[in-house]
Symmetry: C2
Subunit: 507 residues, 2 copies
């Protein structure tokens, strides 16, 4: 082999540009380091310095954004490459990641080996894949995936990030597949279970397309962006925690895959199970309760779909030695009254405080889920979980435990006021609430500003089966700014998300 002379290096310059997940760099068309023409057809480049490698999308410029001997790194690339301004990097046209051969094989219908899936996930987690390459992997897998491939995917995703270890025989966790407005049961279940003394180190996500994730709601009460060590301290002190999973870096490839799945609405059972189980495996859970809400506007429309998903969760759990229990719950309408971080946090604290106005459905569902988890404790006799959960809630032990967790995680750092702009959405006729569209209420709460505005959202007054008089408020919209408020109000007038049947109708 002839030795190839090195190309001259470029100096790092930081460019204040938030390019989201993607690594983007800017190179001058007059660049001294390489003839930029070679980039026609090569929009991807490879940066190397101090044995670090970064793949990035290259943009060219003629003017002063960067000098001819510089390479501009947009914020995400700058932080990931972590080389100081002015340091020298070599830049070459990037060859695509080798694991793309396996993606092409998958598209052509081939079954991938564990090593191939491992290489794909490793490259995804290292930001080596472009959006279109991620889409190709997801779509190739969406049309056909063997159970062996699913297991390899879960393993690879769990291995790609932090892996938590706990010195307990039993580490319990719960997870809901989402889609139901309100439904903030984790924030009641965790303090009950932790008050009993079982370990429940709960990590949650932020909302992506919904008006609130558990992490967004908990953030109203306490800090949630704890690192691994801080999280471990909280769990040691309180048996449980309620932190944001993103900061703990569990299954980072999952967050990247989701960012492409969502806009494309790729939503296969296998990918949902891989996403959830990889995080639980990485979190060190031994016993896992999964909540599958079923309803016409829930993610699962019927019991058959729920059963199929349940089998898949159990299959993966069995393989990795996680005891998985799956419960099907009523997903026809919101759980609790609040939709949006502050309103949901109010519901949670009302239930924990045994407030007489606390939403009964949220209390009952939380007790039922907590009962399942408590019965993982071998000391507890079968069937006594519910009574124990109720004791811990009614006695104030759960509230005390929640206060302890909040104190351990630290004070919140956000505006927790409710939105000052409010409007009630009235019933269109006398009658009975026959149905509530979960998707619609989520959408309206998001339009009103949730979860970015913590105190924006919707407070529900009427549930299925409730009689209503014409003009009586079905729910109240909360917002901070006119544009969002007006959009949400206009949206509720176009479609309020409620079906009101004639008086005396059975829902």
């Amino acid at each position: 082999m002839t030795a190839v002379p090195p190309r001259p290096a470029l100096k790092v310059r930081r460019i204040n540009l938030d390019t989201g997940r993607e690594n983007v760099v800017v190179i001058s068309r007059r660049s001294k380091a390489l003839r930029p023409e070679v980039f026609r057809g090569f929009s991807r480049v490879e940066l190397r310095a101090n044995s670090k490698v970064l793949l990035a999308t290259a943009l060219l410029t003629d003017d002063g954004i960067v000098a001819a001997d510089e390479i501009g790194l947009a914020e995400p690339a700058f932080h990931r490459f972590a080389e100081p301004t002015g340091s020298l990097v070599s830049v070459t046209p990037a060859t695509p990641p080798e694991s793309l051969d396996a993606v092409r094989g998958k598209i052509q219908g081939r079954v991938l080996s564990d090593a191939e899936i491992g290489a794909i996930i490793d490259d995804v987690a290292r930001y080596r894949y472009s959006d279109m390459e991620i889409a190709a992997f997801l779509l190739g897998s969406a049309s056909f995936m063997t159970s062996g491939e699913l297991l390899a995917l879960v393993r690879a995703m769990a291995d790609a990030g932090t892996q938590l270890k706990w010195d307990r025989q039993i580490v319990v966790d719960k997870h809901c597949i989402g889609g139901i407005p309100g439904n903030r049961t984790s924030m009641i279940v965790v303090p009950i279970v932790a008050a009993h003394g079982l370990m429940i180190p709960k990590t949650s996500s932020r909302a992506i397309t919904s008006p609130a994730g558990t992490a967004d709601t908990m953030e109203v009460l306490a800090r949630v962006d704890l690192g691994v060590e801080a999280m471990k301290e909280v769990v040691t002190a309180c048996h449980g925690c309620l932190v944001w999973g993103g900061h703990v870096n569990l299954s980072p490839a999952d967050d990247i895959l989701i960012s492409v799945e969502r806009p494309l609405s790729i939503d296969t059972r296998e990918q949902m199970v891989a996403s959830i189980m990889s995080k639980k495996l990485a979190a060190g859970s031994t016993h896992l309760l999964i909540d599958l809400p079923v309803g016409p506007t829930a993610k699962l429309p019927n019991a058959l779909e729920a059963m199929r998903l349940r089998k898949l969760f159990e299959f993966v759990g069995d393989h990795f030695g996680i005891a998985v229990e799956v419960v099907t719950t009523d997903g026809r309408q919101p759980i609790g009254n609040g939709i949006g971080p502050v309103l949901e946090a109010q519901d949670v604290m009302a239930v924990l405080g045994n407030d007489s106005a606390a939403p009964r459905d949220l209390r009952e569902k939380s007790l039922r889920l907590a009962a399942h988890l408590l019965e993982y404790d071998p000391e507890l006799r079968g069937g006594t979980g519910y009574a124990r959960a109720k004791d811990l809630l009614n006695s104030g032990a759960a509230l005390k435990q929640m206060q302890k967790i909040i104190e351990a995680q630290g004070p919140p750092n956000c505006n927790t006021d409710l939105g000052p702009l409010t409007a009630d959405v009235p019933a269109p006729r006398d009658g009975v609430v026959e149905g509530i569209d979960c998707l619609r209420l989520n959408r309206l709460a998001r339009t009103a500003g949730a979860p970015i505005d913590k105190g924006a959202g919707i407070k529900v007054f009427k549930k299925i089966g409730d009689p209503v008089a014409q003009g009586e408020p079905l729910y109240r919209i909360f917002a901070f700014d006119e544009p969002e408020f007006d959009l949400a109000l206009a949206g509720s007038k176009a479609d309020a998300g409620y079906a009101v049947g004639p008086p005396g109708a059975k829902p």
Copy 2:
């Protein structure tokens, strides 16, 4: 419906940043027009001004790239939106194109209607799709496409750009699916056919992953970036032309789809046929000859694959009333000696000039293809096409016609020198050339700098069946700059792309 108050508009600022195909805009995090936080999860925005709409990917910045009341448009977005600097535009989070619902349907296995396919292609051609959305459409279609969907796709792609009309009963065209180094037959066939008097308005592509397209090679001899009107003048004057299709804007959606197909190596028969036939339909061709090279390192490995592709071309041709003839040719090795624009142009001019050193294979193949096309002339008796083609070539009429076309298109505007750095790649042993790897030679010629450096590439000295002595040159590498030259030379040492068998071996 409540009227929604308009958000304040932003002032257009031009950002000198070449973002390739994608529309990219830059917005300040302190923007007055909208709370930029709403963009979390909304990286796509919609710009509106004077009834124009542009979808773009939004990047956020904190510092002076744009002011709070400005929106920066990177070059492609600036040119496509075509609003002057300082003009006011409204910006809102973009809802995805409606046609994406059909893409999701396709992914789930649904057969799409003509209207749905039309809407997808229209949105693609208007740059409304992100890369990942294009990938989703291509992958959804790659796994299953009905013949009805294929026809709708060809129609929609042809309709999305320029549609040429000619006042002749017979408008002939030829097309090769590519993959064979050299093989610049169009530049010989067009002058022969045009000299005969048949109309052959040939548009060609530039190389995307190969070392030269016909447009790159013709550019060594004449201008190729003619607009529609200039192209028509050339064709009127000369019966034919050899221009770059990209400037004429035939089937612009095709160029966009290809830019995603290539990196993902999506290469289905249907997409190849849709790509080629949409361009021919838009070009107004009535009679089309298609060249399918078959060989171990060609795009088609065997006769069965070629037959399948032939049937699909004929099916689409029949439907749109284009007489399609498909010929299978020898695709085992390069055609002609040159690989790279200048070297290929030398081969072409040597054949047209009846130079005794002209490559015989290029001459023979061109005559054969021209013969097929000439026989579309009802005046010509069946079987006499070959003799007529030979007459036109041997008499110098074809050369004269080529000179006329070159003059009509205008003088070239590029460096046509051969690369001054050269190295011969020697035969590793005494013997006979048994095989040549077309992919490898293309790759080496491209590494040497072709097609960016017109005079870079490879000149082949030995073909299959030729005896060679150890150390005798198989081919010569030409390059302009040390880095490319060294890389190509190192590449040829690792794998020269030639199989040399023992003396006397039969290839």
